[in-house]
């Protein structure tokens, strides 16, 4: 859990995510409550785990051809196919070698990364939403029997969370990194063919392609949950403002007018439109979840349409 902060000697110390946790009242009990809430949602919505697979058989029907008992399709035999799946009855009828295909039964792999940069926890609503999503992912994994691995990431490192810590909510955010940079997703040991869930606010000045390249490493599929707050999207800055970056500690004096605020909002929208385009181009579902409203409503409204979650069957 220990992380070495990247020193920025010229700037004052920044607020740590841990202190924000304490400030927002995110105790273990509180997070346990969020977990209970997430587990109540999991029966209605689930993660699209079908693409995530492991070498071990599992209880999920995979997207590919497998050894389950559930018939999926016929196709022409090609040399090298497993002869055990030849449809002899069809051969008897038609004289053609036809393969019977059954759905694969998988035990999905789920790698979830929680961005622990200070910006994620700056506002209580946004921080709560991030933790709700984190809990929801856990709940979905638990319900689906997926092989879950969770990581806490900051710009310098990614730390795996032991499962017992995860279940007991006995984990703490990382110390401040003192710089504004994306989480170190390249340090995450992604498992092959795993479903990668990244919970991050995407507020870092790095091209989306660079981030997504790390996420999609080793033939994986990814979903990005992006919590956001109204305060960051539509700030009430007016007149003389002294702005301080919560991560780098950089201070700046700015004079704001309505026109300048509008220019900022346009820049904000443009930043996320770039992310939308990049994710769409790489088949990554990007769900931006606002801080307002219950998590279920928020997922239904923002995550379901983009395929970041799906309706649970039955």
């Amino acid at each position: 859990m220990a992380a070495t902060p990247t020193a920025a000697s010229a700037v004052p110390p920044t607020t740590s995510a841990a202190s924000l946790f304490a400030q927002h009242g995110f105790t273990r009990e509180f997070r346990g409550g969020l977990q209970a809430l997430a587990e109540s949602i999991a029966p209605r919505l689930r993660l699209p785990l079908r693409a995530a697979r492991s070498s071990m058989s599992g209880q999920w029907l995979g997207a590919g051809i497998g050894a389950s008992l559930e018939f999926q399709d016929h196709r022409q035999y090609y040399p090298g196919d497993d002869p055990r799946h030849l449809n002899w009855a069809a051969y008897a009828r038609t004289g053609q070698h036809t393969m019977k295909m059954y759905r694969e039964e998988v035990s999905p792999r789920l790698d979830v990364v929680l961005d622990c940069s200070t910006s994620m926890f700056l506002g209580r609503g946004k921080a709560r939403r991030a933790l709700e999503i984190f809990a929801f992912v856990q709940a979905c994994a638990l319900r689906a029997g997926a092989m879950l691995r969770a990581y806490l990431a900051d710009p310098a490192s990614a730390h795996a969370l032991p499962m017992d810590s995860l279940r007991s909510h006995a984990w703490d955010p990382l110390p401040p990194a003192n710089r504004s940079a994306p989480p170190a997703l390249d340090r995450v040991p992604w498992r092959a063919q795993s479903l990668r869930i990244i919970i991050t606010d995407l507020l870092y000045p790095v091209p989306p392609q660079d981030i997504l390249g790390h996420v999609l490493h080793s033939t994986g599929r990814a979903i990005v949950f992006c919590p956001w707050s109204k305060a960051e999207a539509e700030p009430d800055w007016d007149g003389q403002m002294e702005l301080r970056d919560c991560e780098s500690g950089e201070r700046r004096l700015c004079q704001f007018s309505s026109a300048r605020r509008e220019r900022f909002q346009a820049s904000y929208r443009r930043h996320f439109s770039l992310w939308d385009e990049a994710c769409a181009g790489r088949g990554v579902a990007l769900a931006r979840l606002g801080e307002d409203g219950p998590l279920l409503d928020c997922l239904m409204k923002s995550a379901l349409p983009v395929g970041a979650v799906e309706m649970a069957q039955g």
Binding site: D201, E232, P235, L243, R244, D245, C246, S257, F264, S267
Partner: protein, 596 residues
């Protein structure tokens, strides 16, 4: 066409801009916010990274809107007007000829130079008329050249005591017409309320603590000449001054006076022996004209008096004549200056003689009637004389003659008449016999005779030595055959005691010669002979009271009333007004979200 501002004081609204800057600086207390989107801001507003002051001002729309509103407000308040080409305005400046103006001479010149420059902007061309309130003097300047007008102003000297400026102001109004501007350049607010003919007062003065000589003269006491002086403290504080006597090159030891506010102190002393001139001098202060009183030992013109009439007339009239100052019996065979006579017919008086004629009551004209309560006329000779106790026997009315002025009436007939027929000597005619009246017991009778004698003395062409009020006529009478009259006096700007400079006086107007100002000794010569040896003295203590002196600036409101004829208001004024309202609304819109 050029631009003028009818209300330049409107530009004082620009002082609101520094106030705005201060208010915005005080509001510089920034709101501090911790954010997570600094990198987005960086892309957007790189230039404000350092929070530099100029950038802060530049980016404050509210500030610039308020500055624009201030500028527009100042513009509108200053009432800009466009002066059309070819317009002509007439401006008359009437200079107060009061001697007090000399205390503020340089300030007045500078003030007029500045204000005339302002006034000149009121029209494309300005016709200047520079006058004195002493309306006996010609205009100092009349023309369109402001520099020449100012040069003429440099030559101007105030020389009068208290006087009424109204005639000069009316003359100025007539000259510039209804649309012209008339200014009265003085040193205090007009004491009698608003000036006539819509003249505007202008003053470039300030209050002074002045101590000066209110009056000075020489009298005979026990046949010894004694000078006497009144020194007055015309201020609201106690004042100390040194004083001394100058007589030729000699100067007495200085002594110190201490005067309470408003106090007048009388000083006197023996006139220095073996000299005809002396000067009482005070330590100079802010107003120096009343700090020196030159005095000469008076030597009035002597009147040669003769009497003609019955034997009992001369003893009657002689005591009355002897009450007249400085007379002597006329020599046998010479023409007297003043003749007392009694007879039936007044006849005619020779040109060089003044005559007091009494009608004679004889047996033919005698009557027992006694008349009283004659009706006096208004005349300088009769001023304030009480004739109510006069008793006399009425005589036959005298026929009216050319040059008669009735001084007193007995019913419908003249009782006392003054005849001033041109070419003849003045005659005071009493149409009653004084021997059969109580006239000799009436002060009015004696005073009238004395006044007439003084009139005769003034009209006599003879040498005179006297003290005169500065700037006032000295009643100079020169011989009929005089060819050259000169006034010798130090130049106005010369220091005290400077050598006199001779100045030719035109013969025709020699009678209107005035005592020179500032106060100094002077001499009038006729054909090289001394004719008047005089000392001019500060004329009126009212002219040395500067307690209510103050500045009266050019009233822009009065100016624009006149300028309206020469200029047009700014046609874009409604546009500027709308722009001002727009700026105010926009700044309110900028402020409203913050207030929420």
């Amino acid at each position: 066409m050029h631009l003028i501002f009818a209300n330049p004081a409107g530009w004082f609204a620009l002082l609101g801009i520094p106030a705005l800057v201060i208010i915005h600086l005080l509001q510089r207390q920034s709101r501090r916010v911790e954010i997570s989107t600094m990198f987005l801001l960086e892309k957007q507003e790189v230039e404000s990274r350092a929070g530099r002051r100029i950038e802060r001002w530049r980016s404050s729309r509210l500030f610039w809107l308020q500055v624009a509103a201030m500028v527009l407000l100042s513009w509108l308040l200053s009432e800009p007007r466009w002066v059309e080409g070819g317009t002509l305005q007439r401006v008359a400046m009437v200079l107060d000829s009061s001697l007090a103006m000399e205390a503020f001479r340089s300030q007045t010149q500078k003030g007029i130079a500045a204000d005339s420059a302002t006034l000149a902007r009121g029209a494309a061309r300005t016709e200047w008329l520079l006058l004195e309130s002493d309306n006996t003097r010609p205009p100092l300047y009349h023309g369109e050249n402001r520099a020449e007008m100012l040069a003429a102003l440099d030559q101007w000297r105030a020389s009068l005591g208290p006087h009424d400026p109204a005639p000069a102001l009316r003359a100025a109004r007539v000259s510039v017409g209804d649309k012209g501007l008339v200014f009265f350049i003085t040193y205090r607010p007009p004491p009698n309320g608003p000036l006539p003919v819509e003249a505007q007062p202008l003053a470039y003065a300030h209050a002074l603590d002045n101590v000066g000589i209110s009056a000075a003269g020489v009298e005979l006491q026990n046949n010894q000449p004694v000078w006497h002086v009144l020194v007055c403290n015309q201020s609201n504080t106690m004042q100390k001054r040194a004083w001394w006597i100058e007589s030729g090159p000699q100067k007495s030891a200085a002594q110190t006076l201490e005067l309470q506010p408003g106090e007048t102190l009388a000083l006197q002393g023996a006139f220095p022996p073996n000299t005809e001139r002396m000067t009482f001098a005070l330590e100079p202060d802010g107003f120096t004209l009343d700090d020196r009183a030159p005095m000469v030992l008076p030597l009035p013109k002597q009147l040669a008096v003769a009497f003609r009439g019955p034997d009992d007339f001369i003893p009657y009239v002689k005591p009355i004549a002897q009450l007249i100052d400085n007379i002597a019996p006329a020599a046998e065979g010479t023409m007297p200056d003043l003749l007392f006579d009694l007879g039936d017919d007044p006849g005619f008086t020779p040109a060089a003689v003044a005559r007091v004629h009494f009608s004679e009551e004889n047996a033919a004209t005698s009557t027992d009637d006694v008349h009283a309560h004659p009706a006096p006329e208004k005349h300088p000779l009769m001023d304030a004389l009480n004739w109510s106790g006069l008793l006399y026997h009425p005589l036959k009315p005298l026929p009216r003659r050319k040059g008669d002025t009735t001084l007193m009436w007995d019913g419908v007939f003249p009782l006392i008449t003054l005849n001033e027929e041109i070419g003849r000597g003045p005659t005071l005619i009493f149409n009653f016999d004084p021997r059969h009246s109580n006239a000799s017991h009436l002060p009015a009778f004696v005073l009238l005779v004395n006044r007439f004698a003084e009139m005769a003395r003034q009209g006599k062409a003879a040498y005179e030595r006297n003290n005169f009020p500065a700037g006032l006529p000295i009643s100079l009478v020169v011989p009929r055959d005089a060819r050259e009259v000169k006034l010798e006096a130090p130049p106005p700007d010369a220091p005290a005691g400077a050598a006199p400079v001779a100045q030719d006086l035109p013969l025709a107007s020699a009678g209107a010669t005035r005592a020179p100002s500032p106060p100094e000794f002077f001499t009038v010569t006729v054909d090289g002979r001394p004719w008047v040896a005089g000392a001019s003295q500060f004329p009126d203590p009212r002219e040395s009271d500067f307690r209510d002196a103050r500045e009266i600036p050019l009233r822009a409101s009065a100016q624009v009333t006149r300028e309206a004829a020469h200029s047009q208001p700014d046609l874009l004024a409604p546009v500027w007004l709308l722009a001002l309202l727009g700026a105010l609304l926009a700044s309110w819109r900028e402020t409203a979200p913050r207030l929420k």
